[in-house]
Structure formats: structure tokens, C-alpha cells
């Protein structure tokens, strides 16, 4: 569905307010600093990305899965559902919504097992992926409820293509900006700003990186709130700054240790 963003549930229910977002995270931020919280999301976004790639999903589907994941934890603490279960559940649901062929239950579980073992052993050591199909299916119902059945997510990719077309096809610019949009999934911007603004923000960063001074007039003529674009740019640049001094392989185990975890039913 490429319908009207302004009338969509995305625009009407899921462009969140920054203050609300911070407030709803209080429980988790009591145990984690903002930076640690972001690092944990960065890690699970990687899991979703790699799972999606292994399952040969389009980037659009991967991005949608990532947004489901972020939306769930925007309203709930990390302790409510183990993110290691929610991540593949988001991939599973997004692949069905985007009509990209059903992933069989067994293929999903096998892929999770291989990915965790081969690509994320630095985080989980010898521990295997612990969940089975029935866990994913149960989790899927909770996810759908918490998303309030809002499953169509608008992504920055389509507006980005249109903007680049408007600028005059520039493959290098598109490639850079496309990657920046991918990276933006590791920040909160998809919860806070409409996708077309994220596309402009990504283009802006790409222009700076490529030293494309000549595009300044193009930006100046856009009828957009440049303050918002600057906020988006700042969020993404902050991510890049964080990456410079961060070694996920070294730090993630202790971060996962600190993460709030689900509590079992009380013993009788």
C-alpha cells in the first residue's frame, strides 16, 4: 500500500513525542544509561538485519520489522518480552504483511539458530537460540496487540528515490543516502519523524560527506521544517560518533547482563 501517509495510522498514531518517549523509558533508564539503551537497540537491530538478509528479505521488510521492534519497546520495558524472541517475531510478522512469501516456521527457527551461533557468538557464547515456533507464535499475538494492529509502516526509501530523481539522478548520492537511512534505523528517528523528513536528513548528511555544496539551493527551496531536519541529522551523527569509540564485541555481553529481564511466575 502506497497510500496517503497523512491519513495513515503511522502518521496519526505512531509519530511519537520525544518527551513521551523518554518518560515511557524511565523503568529501563533506571537500570541503563541512555547510551547503553541505544547500544542494546543497536545490537538487536543488527540481529534483525542479519536475520532478514539470511532470509533474503528486501530492505523494506527488514526496516518494517525494525520499526515494529522499536514501537513495541516504545510502549513497554525491555523486561516485558525477551528482545531475542521479539526480534525474529518482528521479522516473521513483517514478511507476511509485506507479502513477500511466508517464511516457514521451521526455516525461521533454523535461521535464528544459525545466525545466533555463527554471527553473534560474541554476545551469546555457546548458548543456543532458545526459542521454538510456539514461542514465536505466542509472542506474535502480543506484538500485534501492542502495535494496535498498525502494520503498514512508511519508510524513507521511496521518498528518498523521488528526491534523488528530482535532484537529477546521482547514483553515488543515492547509495550514500540509502545507507544512512539504513543506519537511521539504529536511532529513534523512525519513532519521531515522518519518513520523508528522515529521507531529507539522510540526503543532507550524504551531501556533506560528498562535499556537494552545489545542492544547497535545492535544500533551501524545500518547503520543510529545517529544524526538524537538523534534529534528525544530529541523531544520526550522534550514532556515528558513538560508533567511533564503541566496540560491540567487547561490551555487549555485559550490557545484555545489565538489561532488565522478564520475571517468571512467582513460585507457589
Amino acid at each position: 500500500m502506497a497510500g496517503n501517509f497523512w491519513q495513515s495510522s503511522h502518521h496519526q498514531q505512531w509519530i511519537l513525542d520525544k518527551q513521551d518517549l523518554v518518560r515511557d523509558r524511565q523503568l529501563d533508564l533506571a537500570k541503563l544509561s541512555e547510551e547503553e539503551y541505544q547500544k542494546i537497540f543497536n545490537f538487536f537491530a543488527s540481529i534483525i538485519q542479519v536475520l532478514g538478509e539470511q532470509l533474503k528479505l528486501r530492505q523494506q521488510v527488514i526496516a518494517t520489522a525494525t520499526v515494529y521492534f522499536k514501537r513495541f519497546y516504545a510502549r513497554n520495558s525491555l523486561k516485558c518480552i525477551d528482545p531475542l524472541l521479539l526480534a525474529p517475531t518482528c521479522v516473521f510478522l513483517a514478511s507476511k504483511v509485506e507479502e513477500f512469501g511466508v517464511i516457514s516456521n521451521s526455516r525461521l527457527i533454523t535461521t535464528c539458530q544459525t545466525v545466533i551461533k555463527n554471527k553473534f557468538s560474541y554476545a551469546y557464547g555457546q548458548q543456543e537460540f532458545p526459542y521454538r515456533t510456539n514461542h514465536i507464535l505466542e509472542c506474535e499475538f502480543y506484538l500485534l496487540e501492542n502495535l494496535d494492529c498498525c502494520l503498514i509502516v512508511y519508510q524513507p526509501y521511496r521518498p528518498l528515490l523521488l528526491f534523488v530523481q528530482d535532484i537529477g539522478q546521482d547514483d553515488q548520492l543515492l547509495t550514500y543516502a540509502w545507507r544512512i537511512v539504513n543506519d537511521s534505523l539504529r536511532t529513534d528517528v523512525s519513532l519521531l519523524y515522518p519518513p520523508y523528513q528522515i529521507a531529507i536528513g539522510a540526503l543532507h548528511i550524504a551531501c556533506v560527506m560528498l562535499g556537494k555544496e552545489n545542492l544547497k539551493p535545492w535544500f533551501a527551496e524545500l518547503n520543510v521544517d529545517m529544524d526538524k531536519i537538523q534534529e534528525i541529522v544530529r541523531s544520526i551523527i550522534n550514532l556515528y560518533e558513538m560508533w567511533k569509540s564503541y566496540d560491540e564485541k567487547k561490551e555487549i555481553q555485559s550490557l545484555l547482563g545489565k538489561m532488565p529481564k522478564p520475571c517468571p511466575a512467582p513460585q507457589r
Binding site: 500500500m1 502506497a2 497510500g3 496517503n4 491519513q7 495513515s8 495510522s9 496519526q12 498514531q13 513497554n76 520495558s77 523486561k79 516485558c80 518480552i81 525477551d82 531475542l84 524472541l85 510478522l93 507476511k96 504483511v97 507479502e99 512469501g101 511466508v102 532458545p130 526459542y131 514461542h135 507464535l137 505466542e138 509472542c139 506474535e140 499475538f141 502480543y142 500485534l144 496487540e145 494496535d148 494492529c149 498498525c150 502494520l151 503498514i152 529481564k261 522478564p262 520475571c263 517468571p264 511466575a265 512467582p266
Partner: protein, 464 residues
């Protein structure tokens, strides 16, 4: 052994927080707590079961349609249906009010407004009347109003890049008495169909016969993609069926279990009505995957005397009428030449008196019976539906599909509130309805009566 078991159990991480689970459970409302629907099944099909329901707490006395989706969990078609209907909002597209997820039996329920009528039942009623030489009183502009609203709804879907993919009379609902009296609601979009494999699901559909009558010629010749033009062809078929009470491309249907799109008998029927397409009328026909089969199986000379104008003339629709001219534009064989829903809505047919009305019954009494409740005896029903297939069409695929949000509270739900479309001037009930009433005339819809009645009736038919 006991130790092992214990061990596994303690090693598995806790997937969900107990407190979160209990809290969510307590907040979740169950469909059976909120609605009465037992014994009120009104539809059954490959999509599942549909019930006519009322609120238990009496906070309103409206009828609702509750659709229990076939199977358990979230199939891809259930996901697509929820995802799209959650976003769609148009007076002529069924409205999803709420989704219920039943965690214990993993059933998915969708709540819609209740539509008392559909074109399958309406046309069937007219056919039965015709067979008994009885007339049915409906306003003379009814077919036009129905078509206009179908086009309006499809135009909305198409402009959102949603293709229906399964338009047929059973999927066109009409609201009964109430605030939306006589309004068309398009239902049951073919959510399960893949864009690149249009025919795949056919093989999976079990005992209900899938009808080919509304299927565009390019699909029968192996076109691999659904398009807007395919929906338009189906609307043309429905329009013709409304004008004549006969499915225009009626074709004997065996239980079609093949995944091959090519269907000889159905193409033969289309050519018998339309004539065999001339090269100049459909240049790209040679590019169709099944073109070679077509050339092998069919002889142009067999259809020399066939044309849509002759067919419609036999059914008392004059070739110089505006209705015929619009029909012809909808039923163009070449999908590239077929008009769009937007163009169709601009057709002179709709600016000619009688003008289309928002209440398709134009304030007149509704002659059609209400839906009957179905029994739960599956065995009996299967036999019955077999018999029905042979004489008429596939099972009325019924009711419902609307959709909407999970956000149950009307107040909180502005995003999904119904908007009146600009094109429809509001004359539902009340004063507008009265006015319409004077224009109303007796007529029989698609009838072929003998004697004095028939001439008068022909006049009306032309004016549809």
C-alpha cells in the same frame, strides 16, 4: 531422567514477564464477553465464518458482523487483511472496527458494521422473481447508484494502490436500514493473492468452487500480474449482470482444481458474447503466455456473429443507450484500453437522469429479505452448496470484511471516523429520500415479462 527434565526447564530463559502477561490478559477483552452471536451465523466460506452480532452491554443496539478467520493464528492473508483494512477509510469500503485475538484457541476475529444485503442475494432475488413472472419494485436509478458507488470505492482502493483482485457480486455488500441505508460496501479484497502468482491460491481453495465468470481475458490467457484493469473488467461483468440479472459470462463450472490459468470454456463464453478480438483491438494479445494455445484452440469464424451490442440487445439494453456505451468501455478486451474507475465515474451515464443516489434504494422500501441464519450442520450444507453451484454461482462469499482498528473506543478513534465523500450529496433518509421517492417508478429489474407490462418495463431498462 527426572533430573534432565528439570534441567531443561530451568535453562530455558523466561520469554515473557509474568506481571506483563497478567496485566495484558486482564486488559484484553474477549469477543464472547462483549458480543452475542451464538447461533447467528450468516456466512461461511474459505475465509472463515461470519456471524451477525449484538453488543451484550446494550450500549448500542446496532448489528455487527463478526468474522472468525479460517484456521488459527495469523496467516499471510489475515495479516494483509488486518494491515490494509486498518488503513483504509472510505464510505464504500467495508470498515474494520476492531480486531479480537483469542489467545486460548488462537482464533482471529474481525468486527465490522453489519451489511444486510449483497449483490449476489439481490440478483438472485431478481432472477427468482423473473422465473416466477413476478416484478420487483426498485427505484429506476438503483443500478446506476450501485455502479457509481462500486466505482467510487474501487477508485479509492486503486488510488491507494490496493487491488481488489476478487470482485464479484457476493463481495459487493449493501447496507440495510440504518444511518447508512442503501450504501455500497466493497468487501473481501483478495488479500491472499500474490501479485506475481495470481492463480496460486486457486489450487488451495477447497470445496467452494472458484468462479471464473468475472475473470478478465488477460488472466485467462496467463497474465502474471494483477492490475487495476482486471478489477475494472469484473466491474463491467457486475454492471451487465445488474442490467440483465444474468451473469454475462456464465460458464458451466466443474470443480476447478487446476493451477493453470488457461480456461477454454470460459474464454469460449467470453468470445460468444463479445466476438473474437480483432488484432487491431488488442495488439498485445500475441504477447500473452497462452496465445499459442488460443490460436490452436479457437477459430475466429465461429464467433463471426457475436457482439456485445447483440447480446445486450437480446437483454433489452439498447446499443444507443448511455448504459451500454459505458458497459462497452468497461468490457474492452485489451486491458490497456479499458477505462479507469476515474474515467468511468465521469461517464455521461451518471449525469443523465435519474442521477445516482447515496441510498441506492432512494428512500423506497427495500424489497429484499434479510440474511438467514445458517445451521451448523456442515455435512448437509456441503450437499446443498454443490447443488447450488450447478444452477447458479459459487457460494455467496459473504459478508464482510471491513476492518479497522483495534482501538475500540470511538472517541479515540478519530483517525478512522467515516468521512462523507465529496461526490455524494447526502440524501440518506430524511428529506432527500422523500424527494427521491417521487421519482421512483415500478419496474422489474432485468425481467422479461409478457403482455402489457413488458413495454413499460423496457423503457425503464433502457434508462438504467
Amino acid at each position: 531422567m527426572g533430573d534432565n527434565f528439570q534441567n531443561n526447564k530451568t535453562m530455558a530463559p523466561v520469554m515473557m514477564d509474568y506481571e506483563f502477561k497478567i496485566k495484558t490478559q486482564n486488559e484484553r477483552s474477549k469477543v464472547e464477553d462483549l458480543f452475542d452471536y451464538e447461533g447467528c451465523k450468516v456466512g461461511r466460506g474459505t475465509y472463515g465464518h461470519v456471524y451477525k452480532a449484538r453488543r451484550k452491554d446494550g450500549s448500542d443496539t446496532k448489528d455487527y458482523a463478526l468474522k472468525q478467520i479460517e484456521g488459527t493464528g495469523l496467516s499471510m492473508s489475515a495479516c494483509r487483511e488486518i494491515a490494509l483494512l486498518r488503513e483504509l477509510k472510505h464510505p464504500n469500503v467495508i470498515n474494520l472496527i476492531r480486531v479480537f485475538l483469542s489467545h486460548t484457541d488462537r482464533k482471529v476475529w474481525l468486527l465490522f458494521d453489519y451489511a444486510e444485503h449483497d449483490l449476489w442475494h439481490i440478483i438472485k432475488f431478481h432472477r427468482a422473481a423473473k422465473a416466477n413472472k413476478k416484478s420487483v419494485m426498485v427505484p429506476k436509478g438503483m443500478v446506476k447508484s450501485l455502479l457509481y458507488q462500486i466505482l467510487d470505492g474501487i477508485h479509492y482502493l486503486h488510488s491507494n494502490w490496493v487491488l481488489h483482485r476478487d470482485l464479484k457480486p457476493a463481495n459487493i455488500l449493501v447496507m440495510g436500514e440504518g444511518p447508512e441505508r442503501g450504501r455500497v460496501k466493497i468487501a473481501d479484497m483478495g488479500f491472499a493473492r500474490l501479485f506475481n502468482a495470481p492463480l496460486k491460491p486457486l489450487a488451495d481453495l477447497d470445496p467452494v468452487v472458484v468462479t471464473f465468470w468475472y475473470r478478465a481475458p488477460e488472466l485467462l490467457l496467463g497474465a502474471r500480474h494483477y492490475t487495476k484493469a482486471i478489477d475494472i473488467w469484473a466491474i463491467g461483468c457486475i454492471f451487465a449482470e445488474l442490467l440483465t440479472s444474468e451473469p454475462i459470462f456464465h460458464c458451466r463450472q466443474e470443480d476447478i482444481k487446476t493451477s493453470n490459468p488457461y480456461h477454454h470454456d470460459q474464454l469460449d463464453r467470453i468470445f460468444n458474447v463479445m466476438g473474437f478480438p480483432q488484432e487491431k483491438d488488442w495488439e498485445d494479445i500475441r504477447k500473452m503466455p497462452e496465445h499459442a494455445t488460443l490460436v490452436k484452440d479457437f477459430k475466429r469464424s465461429n464467433y463471426q456473429n457475436c457482439s456485445l451490442s447483440k447480446y445486450m440487445d437480446r437483454h433489452k439494453i439498447k446499443p444507443d443507450s448511455k448504459a451500454f456505451s459505458l458497459l462497452q468501455r468497461l468490457l474492452l478486451m485489451d486491458p490497456n484500453r479499458r477505462i479507469t474507475s476515474e474515467q468511468a465515474m465521469q461517464d455521461p451515464y451518471f449525469s443523465e437522469d435519474p442521477l445516482p443516489t447515496q441510498d441506492v434504494f432512494a428512500g423506497c422500501p427495500i424489497p429484499y429479505p434479510k440474511r438467514e441464519f445458517l445451521t451448523d450442520d456442515d455435512q448437509e450444507d456441503k450437499g446443498e452448496s454443490k447443488a447450488r453451484q450447478n444452477q447458479q454461482q459459487q457460494q455467496p462469499n459473504t459478508q464482510q470484511n471491513q476492518v479497522q482498528a483495534n482501538n475500540h473506543d470511538h472517541a479515540a478513534n478519530n483517525a478512522k471516523r467515516m468521512r462523507m465523500s465529496g461526490q455524494n450529496q447526502g440524501n440518506t433518509g430524511g428529506g432527500g429520500g422523500q424527494q427521491e421517492f417521487h421519482q421512483q417508478q415500478q419496474m422489474m429489474f432485468g425481467g422479461q415479462q409478457q403482455g402489457g407490462g413488458s413495454q413499460q418495463q423496457n423503457n425503464f431498462q433502457q434508462r438504467f
